[in-house]
Subunit: 136 residues, 4 copies
């Protein structure tokens, strides 16, 4: 994670006990759910929800995720989930960080998204439009 | 479960470890997944998959589930999942039974489904058509 | 649901987009997650969380769920989830109701729980202790 | 993925319809479930299941996942999931590849695992023991 841009969005997400696995910690796949939920809330807060995108024929698709696990979330935790984004050609790269209620790093992730427009891989301009202030 | 009709379909489903919860047993909600997966495999085996239904504008919707939990599934279990069905007017009632690899009863469930056709509640004839041999 | 007792707990739960299925509505099994999450938050709010129970060797186990589906939850919904409880011998019966942000009924459920104490089915007194004010 | 070691394990996993999301494709987080399920089946096939590990106080923990998404899985797909492994000091690195029934690449992933032994980060020797023939 060499990205030093400041975070542009943060939200709180509550661990639900059914997300724990047999070790009593949140199962590794659920962190991808939290990261996705954060991106969806961010897009909605910018006035361009995934439902809006779908209506315009825009379909953001995950191309790659790199996630490092630092401290597991446990029952009762409320996490703070932060992101920023940048664009590299057709790719939108989200830098995401989740910390627990004690301020410990839970996971760091870099999530690369591309956009299909009407089913075809796009150069990204349609998806970029509502987010230009964050993309340089 | 007063339904004494013989079962008309059975399949095997493998427990996946991420379905266990903090007690080391399969989380209660996953049984609804297994029951649904069984109904979908049954419909597919009858040549009328959920994808087929969707293409014809038929959308089966759950109206009610009654599920009794007998023995929890644990890591490594392979369950046998059985069903039969009957029709009561617009309602399709699936009688479902899951047993574990030792032959113990895991859950019994009665699942009531109705059909939307092009978004409107139907009398059920479209959904019934491929299954008439099982419905009296 | 013939239970007319007033609700004793309510919480808000946010739909997360990954809980939607291919029909664009929340998958049926997720409602069991929401119902469970509500019971866990209720117990925690009463000062007797599931983690506390486990430390005392008490393990609440689902015996039966009856759930009726009225209106599906969709992307962006924030539900209100309510419950009350009563005791019938060793069984604790939760009457649960989820409504959407428009005030429409989403699901109604009756959830029957029994308690294992140190691995053996109990008469329920250990689990009842912190909740006596709600049980008559 | 610069790892050219041959795969040492493969299994088939069936897509279950509830794993699809609102786009009608398998939700991105479920691939981590498939990858985990594959590792668990592999360990079990080697006679050293996760349940066995737990009994010996060994707890494998994810440190990092890098996953590239190539082709989405859809309803009815049966995937083939393959892995090999290598060791770098305390870290066990699984190279995993999932292909669909048409032979198309679905995801490639590199999964780094470390082992806790009795709750403390270990140098990896306990976890390595049953797998020495695969580790050089």
């Amino acid at each position: 994670m060499t990205d030093n841009k400041p975070f542009i969005f943060e939200c709180e997400i509550e661990v639900r006990d059914y997300e724990l696995d047999a070790e009593g910690i949140v199962n590794n796949a659920n962190y991808l759910h939290y990261l996705e939920h954060t991106r969806h809330l961010f897009c909605k807060s910018e006035g361009f929800s995934f439902a809006d995108m779908r209506k315009q024929g825009i379909d953001p698709v995950l191309a790659k995720v790199t996630i490092s696990y630092h401290t597991p979330l446990v029952s009762g935790d409320v996490m703070t989930s932060r992101l920023n984004m940048r664009r590299v050609g057709p790719r939108f790269i989200f830098n995401q960080w989740i910390i627990n209620s004690k301020g410990q790093s839970v996971v760091k992730a870099e999530v690369t998204v591309v956009a299909l427009v009407n089913g075809k891989l796009s150069r990204g301009d349609e998806l970029a439009a509502p987010f230009t202030k964050y993309l340089d």
